[in-house]
């Protein structure tokens, strides 16, 4: 009897550990991207403002991934010898877009306008973490409903807890 309990407990606990390890260290919180793009170099060392590349953040629901033309705007001249930049050049020459993997992915039923948040003075780092110091983008916020609500409550957002403020 005791034995069985011990076995069951071991099983459950180890299952939980396995799941946690996977979620924490092997999940898509920081997926490998087709090009080893470093936000640390761009936003951190070179201090390029976020909205220089993510141009729609203040105007639209989506912040916008920089188009390949924008990458090439600088990298026709800068660091053309780097192998990663050559990958970008290759995409540009093939006239193919770069298939980035989404890190901050929200379900279809969530209505998240970047515009409203940027205009309300929410810093990008508030949700996206310390991007200027990230080599590879890692999801730091859970992006779960409770997380959104906590912030809405703290900032005393008007109708911040109304379902249809964030759902569609």
């Amino acid at each position: 009897m005791k034995k069985l309990i011990v076995y069951a407990l071991t099983g459950v606990i180890s299952l939980a550990i396995g799941y946690w390890v996977q979620q924490q260290f092997f999940s898509d919180r920081a997926p490998v991207q087709p090009i080893n793009f470093s936000h640390k170099i761009h936003a951190g060392v070179n201090k390029i403002p976020c909205q220089y590349c993510h141009i729609y953040a203040e105007r639209s629901r989506v912040s916008g991934v920089p188009n390949v033309q924008r990458c090439m705007g600088c990298h026709k001249i800068i660091k053309t010898d780097s192998p990663e930049i050559q990958k970008v050049t290759a995409y540009w020459e093939k006239k193919e877009p770069i298939p980035w993997t989404k890190v901050h992915n929200l379900p279809d039923y969530v209505y998240f306008p970047h515009k409203r948040h940027v205009r309300a003075g929410v810093e990008c780092t508030n949700c996206h973490g310390d991007v200027p110091n990230m080599d590879r983008i890692t999801k730091v916020s859970s992006l779960q409903m409770g997380w959104c609500l906590t912030c809405h409550t703290q900032r005393n957002v008007k109708n911040g807890r109304d379902c249809w403020t964030c759902h569609k």
Binding site: K3, V6, Y7, T10, G11, V12, I13, S14, L15, A16, I17, G18, Y19, W20, V21, Q22, Q23, F26, S27, D28, P31, Y56, R59, S60, R61, V62, G64, V65, P66, N67, V68, Q69, W92, K95, E96, P97, I98, P99, W100, T101, K102, V103, N105
Partner: protein, 748 residues
Amino acid sequence: MKRREFLRILGIGGAGTGLGFVLGKVTQTPGAKLIPYLVPPEEIVPGVANWYASMCAECNSGCGIIVRVMEGRAKKIEGNPGHPVSKGGLCVRGQASVQRLYNPDRIKGPLKRRGQRGSGDYAEVTWDEAAAELAKNLSDLRKSGEAGKFYLLTSQLHGHLNQLAANFMSGYGSPNHIQYELFQNRNLLYANQASMGLNTIPHYNIEHTKYLLSFGADFGSTWLSPVNFSKGYGRMRQGEGARGKLVQVEPRISVTGANADEWVPARPGTEAILALGIAYAMVEKGYNRAGDASAWRAALSAYRPKEVAAITDVKEERIFEIAKEFAQTRPSLAIGGEGLSSYENGASGLVAVNVLNHLAGNLGVKGGVLPNPDDPLRAAVDMNKRITALASAAASSKVKALAIYNTNPVFTTPKAAKLEESLKNIPFIVSFSSFMDETTALADLILPANTPLEDWGDGFAEPAAGAPVYTIMQPAVSPVFDTKSLGDILLSLAKSMPGNMGPKLQAQSFAEYVRNGWKELYSKNRAMASGTADFDDFWDKTLQNGGWWSQEPSRRGLSVSTGAASANISNKPAKFDGDEKQFPLYLITYAHPMRLDGRGANLPWLQEIPDPMTSVVWGSWVEINPKTAESLGIKEGDTVSIESPSGRISAHAYLFPGIRPDTVALPLGQGQVYGRYAKDRGENPIGVLPLVENPKTGALALNSTRVKVSVASPTGRMVKMEGSTKELGRGIVKTVSPEEFSKMKKEA
């Protein structure tokens, strides 16, 4: 703890961890891809909609629309709020046109016939191959001096596309451009020409009228310009001044008839006589405001209300009542719609309506009939270019090549026309249709043209709003499939044709052609130029606004002479095929509010949105008066066979008290063979129609046969959305009587 025990626990722990890991992996949502633009298109901000103004091409009324486009995809179509025809509204069909654009049944690229004609076996070819084949066939024909044996069969074309087609045909050397569709208003054009000398359809100013006498005009859903008329109807009912009254004369209540204050169920085929009876009553009682009373009395002497009452099944007193009200309510208006013009002598009925308007003094006044300016790009319709002309030419092998665009005559002409058989005689048929249909299925070569939302074009709204309305059509999205604009096809065909095709086909693209055309209009029309710096400025504004229009009314005077009237009217009821004993019931076929003549049948919304009068979806039906049904032993939903001297179809019975007991009605548009949404939806009512053409106009008479109805073996099931149509005193639609309403209005 024993060693074995320890190992076992270790094993379980390891397996558990692994399983947990796998569980985590499996349950995790796969990382979505984030695909950036290579080069960002101008104007597009992801997540923000752009609106493009254009023109609706679902029917011929030419409503201005705006198309909501997000990330290059058309999302929704709405009426252009600034446009004088649509005024921001849009009908069901217009809104569903986005489903024409994204229809899964569209022809996705050029096709060349591989198997037998009509077998539907086509091979995909490239545009170059297809264009070369087309050019070769046509140039061979032209070289052999048989250019005149090339026929172009299109729907009613508008604006510059019409002009381009005409230029192409004249450059090619063939006079045979036939424009055909089922509801082409040929009778109306003819009647207005014959009685008032008008080349265009005038504007019926429903908005300001206070008494609207409608003879079978379903202006709320299908007739001429439903959106414009509906806007007018709303204003007529609850606009300024007194509430306008609507009297509807038709054997079966249409959507508009359902809204009428009075329904006058005249015997089918006698509405024209009723109109003239009213006219006589007006003259007799001295109500007439225009025209020489004695001359008119003489001209109308055959239409004394007493005899008219016997013919039309409308009481004599009622005729006088209507005449009095019609003449004494100012302004009043009489209109004649498809219900009137679909008889074999339809044009004469429309002349009778003009007579009524003339006698009541409604011509050229606000709230009456307002003349429209002429279409600058189109002369009068040639009534001799008919589909039957093509059929007989093809039957006698006088047609060597045929090009078809946007029309489906095989579906919309009676069997007696033998169109399908004759078309099979034509050695080369090319179709520019974007959808496979009964006519396109005969084609040897299919070069799918763009749908209106992908295309350039323009149109001069008909009937306009009593003032010029030029609407532009511009592509809202890039072509979804491998299709091209018909204009581009014709222009490049003209270029690849050996020999001179004339100077008017030099434009590089149809877009350029349209722009050049507008430049010419701009240079000619001073009103257009006012307020703009130059043509480029004008063009930008036009594209933004969706066209150009002005408020300036046409100054043309209108009147109907007794001579013109007498020449066109007759006191014989319209002829109906079939013996009265053997085929006891009149058959009325009408344009379906959603599918019209069948063009909307493959748009799923138009199948699923219930028909306003019967709520039937995804199928067809026959409307029968419950009393008639009872005497024939027919119950709601039964499959019945409808037999005429020309054929037999079956449909489901819908019992509706709003139809004369001696009449049954069938909606058009179902019974198609192609299209995943359109096929297997009942039978084509045209199958029971005889081939009866108005001899003067070539318009097909849709109400021209008697039928007998009997219960048939059940096929399928009629699906309707209504549960019960009885209110049971629950006060769901509450009403006030007109008297009370006018009291209310005075108090307010």
